[in-house]
Subunit: 274 residues, 2 copies
């Protein structure tokens, strides 16, 4: 069986895998329909939310009030499919490997191209995702167990309320990474530099204090073991806006499918605040 | 009975309490012989170590190898009593409220003036102290229980070894401040800006992981309660160099008496690294 890496090499070619415009081109032509983890290393990838203009202002205010779970990297002009600040050639209808189409809070379709459902009143939001800060953590030598074990990160609904805006609201979703205390302190420093991709942790230590009853039973993703000499570190998670959308139940909405992100031209290090 | 504040007002005058040169002058003339906590708010105060030149290089290397417990603010010229980078008028023999004189690792005298034992081969080290970062924490609204309860901070010997240099070595001493997780994360950010006064914490969470068997029984200072919704946060402590000096047992050494620091002209905010 082919590994993910072998598949990626076959799809993008040895040089193309690091070239974000080339990666988007391959995806656009239907040559890559799965998750983008490990693709275009060093480049920022983004969560996608597309909403009708009538809801876009409320959603933008929601993001503004909840910058840790919902850091906005870019907002499109109404009806426009381009996002020039993230990449000159981007067509948001075709450049993600897989999309989800929602109606009234229900998942209706998972498709590789949303051109056929595009509308002139749609506004696109690209939100920062944890891939960027995980890469920054690994660069300072912090090991991330879920990556080493080929798992998805463990995610939990909490009792931390988000600040509502219009119909958007609900509890914050967090991701958890176990590490030793010295690494946890270093991780606070490193991720504080990246406010556009969730920034510093929101909690550290006892999961019960933020309403998580069983650390071994995440609400999303895979369980990841916390060793006796480790402390769980919790970051605001990009699933929070999806949860806010379920809460709002908009008549029409498009998001990325889990792990199938928009690959941008931005370098992760461009997002560092100092 | 007079409060400490009333005593300070009587000694320094309403305006003089904020003027570091005036404070040093009063101390120099014998007008203030107790701890300097709360005096000259906003100014850096320093721990003092004075050693014979023969040991000074080893001690400086020890500080260089252990910057978190031993952050060097200034080193004097051999035999000189001035420290111009910390204050134009400083005479290190008279400008602290109380000194300790050590011989072969034993405390021999506690005196308000070391002029009579001064020697031409002495080198002065001024090391950053936690007063500066505590002030920075309070400025962002983080409450420190030991200060609110009028206690000394709780300090513990750990099993974290320091990097030895010459005769200097031994385990790190840490101070502990309990706080809620969100404040602990903010405290990492705030104190990371102040590497010259111990910087970021060295540990967070389970005390047993750094060799502390009973959090309610500190080795120095006062016990401070950790509430059920709090996490203990541990910083490298300025008692570490004193412990290293006990370890080295120099024939002659002068330190400050606990809490009786050198008041410098530097503003705490001058030490911020960004």
């Amino acid at each position: 069986m082919e590994t993910v890496q072998e598949k990626a090499l076959a799809a993008f070619g040895a040089k193309g895998i690091d070239n974000p415009a080339h990666v988007r081109g391959v995806i656009r032509r239907g040559g890559w329909a799965t998750h983008t983890s490990g693709v275009a290393e060093g480049r920022v990838q983004g969560n996608l939310v597309i909403l009708p203009e009538a809801l876009a202002n409320d959603f933008l205010r929601y993001c503004q009030r909840n910058p840790k779970p919902c850091p906005v990297l870019a907002v499109s002009e109404v009806g426009q499919t381009a996002l020039p600040s993230l990449g000159a050639d981007i067509d948001i209808r075709t450049d993600l490997p897989m999309y989800r189409i929602w109606q009234h809070g229900e998942l209706m379709h998972e498709v590789a191209d949303v051109s056929s459902v595009w509308r002139a009143d749609l506004v696109t939001f690209v939100l920062g995702c944890s891939f960027s800060f995980e890469s920054a953590l690994q660069e300072v030598g912090i090991r991330l167990r879920h990556i080493e074990q080929g798992k998805n990160v463990a995610m939990y609904r909490t009792n931390i309320p988000t600040a509502p805006a219009g119909p958007f609201g609900g509890a914050m979703v967090v991701s958890m990474r176990p590490m030793r205390a010295a690494d946890a302190i270093r991780a606070v420093q490193v991720t504080s530099r990246f406010p556009d991709v969730h920034g510093a942790p929101v909690h550290i230590g006892d999961p019960a204090l933020i309403g998580i009853s069983d650390i071994n039973a995440p609400d999303y993703g895979d369980p990841v073991e916390v060793m006796p000499d480790e402390i769980p570190v919790f970051w605001a998670c990009g699933v929070t806006p999806q949860s806010a959308i379920l809460h709002a139940q908009p008549a029409f909405c498009i998001t990325h499918a889990p792990g199938c992100m928009l690959v941008t031209d931005l370098f992760n290090h461009q997002l560092a605040s100092f």
